[in-house]
């Protein structure tokens, strides 16, 4: 087999198996083979890895495909699992075709008012889409924090020497007109940890829409799903169209409606995924009903650590809207001492309230869901 055939064949298979390989990487791999030769399979493997794999998460997949291609191991036609985020059986699965045909969605404004108050779980599929539509159109005013990057300013705090000097040239080296710089503002990071276990089934999509809307507005937003395992879906959510984003998320997440190991997922978040750094100084929104079947000790430790890192922890619980709600679920009770606020999350209105709370963590502002394009 010639090197070029080997490269194109292998890269092709990687792409089929779901790894994105840019053309430039394939070219690098080819150049590498020409330099070193293809005598030693272990060396070829490392050359391919260094040129084609751009993220540690893809290592496992890469190894599998490499073995398959070069040693014919574990060859089987594995179709990627399609999981639908259509949260009820009446809805058509959101496959490729589901995204492309433009569904006509009209929000009836009189109905919209009523829709805002209703529990998402009790809505018909069509109404639920309308509710999500409302959430998608939230406007956020970012919670801010001081940045370290200096910007132009009128406050005479810190002299901008570069500009002042340029002006001084015109006045015989006398710094008559002075220019200043000061620290600017940046969005504070927003971090969503979304429980997508069975009991949260009806509500998780609502929060994912909420996360999508906030990501559009704020930029520095990270989203993880907690289920049987931890998934970083920040990138998948980053589509221009909310439906496309949801479809991409469901392709990434495989354990929708799985079991709950809330404490363990949180602990995993703290130790892996650069979680410690992500949570530092961030506004953390945990979306869960607090059912945890794991060890309460693990949950306690994980929350304590998160609490020491984050600026604010908001716990959003869809059950909290009920008048007689008491946080008795074991995980919820364990988390309670470590959170700044427990908020309901069962309807559009609750999400509006959540948006207000998030935005007031920085500079107080008003948020509203816009119903009119006026």
């Amino acid at each position: 087999m010639k090197p070029e055939e080997l490269v194109t064949g292998f890269v092709e298979l990687l792409r089929v198996r779901g790894l994105r390989v840019p053309l430039s990487s394939a070219r690098d791999f080819f150049q590498a083979l020409e330099m070193v030769g293809i005598g030693d399979p272990a060396c070829v493997r490392e050359m391919a890895r260094a040129t084609l794999v751009k993220s540690h998460q893809d290592d496992e997949l890469f190894n599998r495909v490499f073995d398959e291609y070069f040693f014919g191991e574990g060859v089987q036609e594995v179709a990627p699992r399609q999981v639908t985020v259509g949260f009820d059986s009446q809805e058509a699965p959101e496959g490729e075709q589901g995204i492309d045909d433009e569904v006509e969605r009209v929000v009836r404004y009189s109905a919209a008012e009523r829709l805002r108050k209703v529990d998402l779980r009790s809505l018909e599929p069509a109404q639920r889409r309308e509710a999500f539509d409302l959430i998608d159109r939230f406007r956020f005013a970012p919670p801010l924090r001081r940045s370290y990057r200096l910007v132009k300013s009128h406050k005479p705090q810190r002299l901008d020497l570069a500009q002042t000097l340029r002006l001084a040239i015109g006045t015989d080296g006398e710094p008559v007109r002075r220019r200043f710089r000061s620290k600017g503002w940046r969005c504070r990071r927003l971090l969503f940890l979304v429980d997508i276990s069975g009991s949260m089934h009806a509500y998780a999509e609502g929060l994912l829409h909420f996360a999508w809307a906030s990501q559009r507005a704020l930029g520095d937003v990270a989203v993880f799903t907690l289920g049987t395992r931890l998934n970083n879906i920040t990138r998948a959510l980053g589509a221009n169209d909310p439906d496309r984003a949801m479809a991409r998320v469901s392709a990434v997440v495989e354990d929708y409606a799985g079991g709950t190991r809330l404490g363990e997922s949180l602990a995993m978040f703290n130790t892996e995924h650069g979680g410690r750094a992500l949570a530092r100084g961030a506004i953390v929104v945990v979306f869960s009903d607090g059912w945890d079947r794991g060890d309460p000790q693990v949950m306690e430790e994980a929350m304590a650590r998160l609490c020491r890192l984050a600026k604010t922890i908001l716990w959003v619980n869809p059950l909290a809207a009920a008048a007689d709600y008491a946080p008795l679920a074991r995980g919820m009770a364990t988390a309670l001492p470590y959170i700044d606020a427990l908020l309901p999350g069962e309807s559009v209105r609750s999400f509006e309230h959540l948006a207000k709370v998030i935005c007031s963590e920085g500079v107080p502002t008003v948020v509203r869901a816009t119903h009119h394009n006026d």
Binding site: S25, D28, C43, M47, Y148, R149, L165, I169, G274
Partner: protein
């Protein structure tokens, strides 16, 4: 075609590079050697990710030792911008120059005055600009851009341009182009995802904790005073600690520190008493200490020795 960079540097194959690195006290496995070799051969930046203390920065140091060249380090932090990374002007000196010109009563016009002000002598070279100023191809400078994820997006975009052209334009002085491209090593702690555009320009290497045998070798190399049996015991216990799911699992850096500490204290083997006394060199979090205590120092040591036969 001109002689390739790896030939110029006398490291024609990944194995040769690994040998070279071990001669300057860096033991590289096949994965690290191959990725570093390709970074040199294809003249591409190498992006390193991995836990703290696995030897990411050390690789850059070792490469500069190997080539006998300068290591230029740019530590990133939030808010870093061109004036700290590329170049700045010495404003105080410039102002003095202006006042002096005025004092001796030279009637200079603005343009010539400006030209005088923005000359090389008032230029402060920051790391990125400095890395372009080398001319000896057998001793390319190693540019280490450390913890890039701490810098913000704007800086990354700016860096992207530099890494593709290796030239920097200073409006007052013109364009500076690298005669010899620096060997570029980037590290990231994954606090945020770097842009795909940047990753596309780099080769990627995930650095893992070393295997037990490799770790013992490294300890012996870096702490020659430690006996073979002590190094093996330290390696075994550190490996065992990494299996405990700690907040901060000890890296190779901690293992080396610990070995130095034990030899300084004239310990000949790791006993629970010694471990307790020197735990602070390996364990850096109170929760981790509690976790280790709850398992029991004696138990951990026995388990580690049994697993690795130390």
């Amino acid at each position: 075609m001109a002689e390739s960079r790896t030939d110029q540097l006398g490291v024609a194959t990944p194995e040769k590079l690994a040998q070279g690195l071990s001669s300057v006290d860096y033991l590289a496995d096949l994965k690290i050697a191959t990725a570093s070799f390709l970074a040199l051969a294809l003249e591409k930046p190498l992006l390193l990710e991995g836990d703290a203390g696995v030897g990411k920065t050390e690789l850059a140091l070792a490469l500069s030792r190997l080539f006998g060249s300068d290591l230029i380090r740019l530590q990133c932090y939030e808010g870093i911008d061109a004036t700290q990374a590329v170049y700045d002007w010495d404003y105080a000196k410039q102002l003095l120059h202006l006042r002096a010109t005025e004092a001796v009563g030279v009637q200079a016009d603005r343009t010539s005055l400006e030209a005088e002000l923005y000359e090389d002598r008032y230029l402060i070279e920051r790391p990125l600009l400095r890395s372009l100023g080398y001319a000896d191809p057998t001793r390319p400078p190693v540019l280490l851009i450390d913890e890039l994820d701490r810098a913000d997006d704007e800086f990354e975009a700016f860096l992207l341009e530099l890494l593709s052209t290796f030239e920097i334009t200073i409006p007052e002085l013109g364009t500076r182009r690298a005669l010899v491209k620096p060997v570029v090593i980037l590290t990231s702690n994954r606090t945020r995802d770097l842009h795909d555009a940047l990753k596309r320009r780099c080769l990627y290497l995930w650095v893992d904790h070393p295997s037990f045998e490799r770790e013992v070798e490294i300890i012996r190399l870096r702490v020659p005073e430690a006996s073979a049996s002590l190094a093996a015991q330290i390696g075994a216990i550190v490996q065992e600690f990494r299996r405990q799911g700690l907040v901060k699992p000890p890296g190779i850096a901690e293992a080396i520190d610990w070995a130095s500490a034990l030899t300084r204290l004239t310990a000949v083997e790791v006993t629970p008493a010694w471990l307790e006394m020197t735990l602070g060199t390996v364990i850096k979090y109170r929760e981790d200490e509690e976790r280790i205590d709850s398992v029991g120092l004696t138990t951990l040591i026995e388990r580690a020795f049994a697993r690795f036969g130390a």
